[in-house]
Amino acid sequence: MTTHIEKDPHSGTETTGHVWDGLRELNTPLPKWWLYTWLACIVWAFGLMLLYPSLPYFTGYWHGLLGYSTRTEVMQDVAKIAGQRALVMDKVAAASFEQIRATPALLAEAQTAGRTSFANNCQPCHGAGGGGRPGYPALAAGAWLWGGRLEDIQQTLQHGIRSGAEGARDSQMPRFGVDGVLKPEEIVQVASFVMTLYGTPRREASAETVAAGAALFADNCAACHGEKGQGNREFGAPALASRTHLYGDSFEIVQGQITNPHMGVMPAWGGKLDPATIKSLAIYVHDLGGGE
């Protein structure tokens, strides 16, 4: 479209004819090579559109002449990594714990595999870093119910606790209250005694109550929990003379555990995780700070 050329009186430069609030836009042309570069970029973009997935249809999309797909690329990467991982994990599976410990490279791989697997499978209950929570043992604290050697941890992982799986660790704490083995006041006495075992005696409990509780403890509890409340790993009986508590250390909780005990379940991971992963997990859990 032709136009009346208008020159800016001050600079002598022609204007585009556009005026805003009395300001006139000067026409300072861009170099032509800039225009050609820009046009070339557009042509280039059409080339990319042809080669790569670009245009959506109603029923799909243009896949591009190269057949490129980020999904395929990711799946290839995943397969590649799985292949690399299999090489290492096969070695972990074949080696004994001692051999893994003695080989820093293998240990590092096992620890990494253990850490990721822990985060995916164990962390929801046992907490990040094995910090534990009521009902779920603090793995980092070393308060083991069934043993804290690498082999013990491996077995627990493999078969679980009260999981119903074959080879699972199993034990029952009698329901002293619900089944009427002990009377409610006896349970109060036993609970009062148990609290003295970990050094926070119940304030309301008289010396007589505690003494009566001690006698009841010796008759009913010591067989599993030990005479001094040191626990027994054969039955998974928690150490009571400990500052680490599975369910809590208040009077109400101890009383409740005697009356109608919670008994936690740990799933058997044998069917879900491969042996190398379980081994890696055992090493990771062991090295959280509680391993024996």
């Binding site: 050329i5 042309p29 094995g130």
Partner: protein
């Protein structure tokens, strides 16, 4: 006449098309001789020598270590600079260096104008080199213009072919030298020519060859005028007291050819400018400096040499175009003289910012240790209560041993009464001091457990690391968390 003015453009009020895109005006800079040109050649030789030769400089660092004085080893994440060695953790020195360089550029620009653009910028240096080659083969301005205007002849064809061949050779050498800053130079050359180098090496050499050839051979002043952001904002650093290339209009005007000046009518007075267009033909960006300070002017000062050559020939005092500032020019035009003001708020602020950055850098560099420790407390669990009632916190320690020998470090914990340390994998072996071995030139990671009686929610502690061989000690502050009491 500015470069983007078009002689074909329409006059006021005419009917026609507005042109939003302009043809490039070919620039054929004429050869000049003089002080500025000599300085520019000297700077060019120094810059290019440094650039091409530096990767070949050797520096003995002992067995199994790179012996290249300056090497940016990306693969191993080490930067070697003579006797210094930087790790990625030292990236903030680069920040300091960039701040220093930027403020230094601001200071120089506010004092002396676009010295960087005119003399030291790679675009200027390589363009100068390429123009030199062009002149040697195709001749000076007039001859080249003639050639380009005439139909292609055999003589022009072989000269152009030779020119582009030489340009490509220089560009290739430039791209190749760039790679040598990242890969050991002799190895890089050997691998390159035996075809055993990494494909990335060929790709990068190709890329830098292409950019050098295009930017210095073809794009030239277009880079400075249309691509580079620096000319656009350097105006913010320049003021009336900054030294710029200046045409002394008060002395030069009224300009006129020598013949016109000789045949001047009575009462008609001319200035010193003989309007020979020497300054215009010499300009590598194709502008007329007599129009005053312009965006396109890179401050190279070649017009000064051109003008001096012409004025000396006709026996007039030289210096009609000179480095001067606007303030002094205005004063001279009034017949006054004025000194230079180097100390101005602007320059003082830049100078103090520069010295501050420099001081911080020097202090940081001199306190640089071959040993570094970082402590990261576990975030989950924050702490663990052990069966005996004590509290245990976990930490991940990273120890960097920059020495080339095996090191054994002693780790103590300060500020935690009854505190003991143990490695996570051997947590039963508690002690007040841990001995941690770290291999040469390595960063080792340790998970350390600290155990202590409960001290409340948070206790400030210090991890103290002592190098048993080197004697260095470093301290890192952290916290020991526990249950609130």
């Amino acid at each position: 006449m500015s470069r983007i003015d078009r002689p074909d453009q329409l006059a006021q009020g005419e009917e026609g098309f507005l042109q939003y895109f302009a043809d490039r005006k070919r620039v054929y800079p004429k050869r000049v001789y003089g002080r500025v040109r000599s300085v520019k050649w000297a700077v060019l030789v120094i810059c290019l020598t440094v650039y091409y030769a530096l990767p070949w400089l050797r520096w003995d660092r002992g067995e199994g270590r790179p012996d290249q004085a300056i090497l940016l080893d990306i693969a191993d994440r080490h930067f070697f600079f003579f006797n210094m060695e930087f790790w990625p953790q030292d990236i903030y020195y680069l920040t300091g260096l960039l701040i220093l360089a930027a403020v230094g550029l601001f200071l120089v620009t506010s004092l002396f104008g676009r010295l960087w653009c005119g003399f030291a910028c790679p675009q200027t240096v390589w363009t100068d080199l390429f123009m030199f080659v062009e002149r040697q083969i195709e001749g000076d301005r007039n001859e080249r213009m003639r050639r380009d205007a005439a139909p292609m002849s055999f003589d022009t064809a072989w000269r152009k072919a030779l020119k582009h061949g030489l340009w490509l050779a220089i560009a290739f050498w430039t791209g190749g030298a760039w790679i040598m800053y990242y890969i050991d130079a002799p190895t890089a050359v050997h691998e390159f020519w035996t075809g055993s180098a990494d494909p990335a090496v060929y790709a990068f050499v190709g890329l830098f060859t292409a950019t050098t050839y295009l930017l210095a051979g073809w794009a030239r002043e277009q880079v400075c005028t249309f691509m580079c952001p620096w000319p656009r904002f350097q105006a913010a650093m320049v003021d009336e007291q900054s030294l710029i290339v200046t045409y002394q209009a008060w002395r030069g005007e009224k300009r006129g050819h020598l013949k016109a000046q000789r045949n001047a009518a009575p009462g008609e007075t001319y200035g010193d400018c003989i309007d020979c267009a020497g300054c215009v033909t010499a300009c590598p960006t194709g502008i007329d400096i007599r129009d005053g300070s312009q965006l396109e002017c890179i401050g190279c000062g070649l017009c000064i040499d051109a003008c001096d050559m012409a004025l000396a020939k006709v026996g007039r005092p030289t210096g009609l175009i000179a480095w001067d500032n606007l303030e002094r020019q205005a004063a001279k035009a009034r017949g006054e003289t004025l000194g230079f003001h180097l100390f101005r708020p602007r320059t003082l602020i830049y100078a103090s910012a520069m010295s501050l950055a420099f001081t911080v850098m020097v202090i940081a560099m001199s306190n640089r240790s071959d040993l570094s420790l970082s402590v990261q407390p576990d975030r989950a669990p924050l702490f663990v209560r052990l069966p005996d009632g004590t509290i245990r916190d976990g930490y991940t320690l990273k120890i960097a041993n920059r020495n080339q020998t095996d090191a054994v470090f002693e780790l103590h914990l300060e500020g935690l009464p009854g505190g003991e340390l143990a490695l996570a994998e051997a947590h039963a072996d508690r002690a007040t001091m841990l001995r941690l071995p770290v291999g040469p030139d390595q960063v080792a990671s340790f998970r350390v457990l600290a155990t202590a009686p409960s001290h409340g929610a948070s206790t400030s502690v210090n991890f103290v690391l002592h190098d048993t061989k080197g004697g260095d000690t470093t301290t890192e502050a952290s916290v020991f968390l526990g249950p609130a009491q």
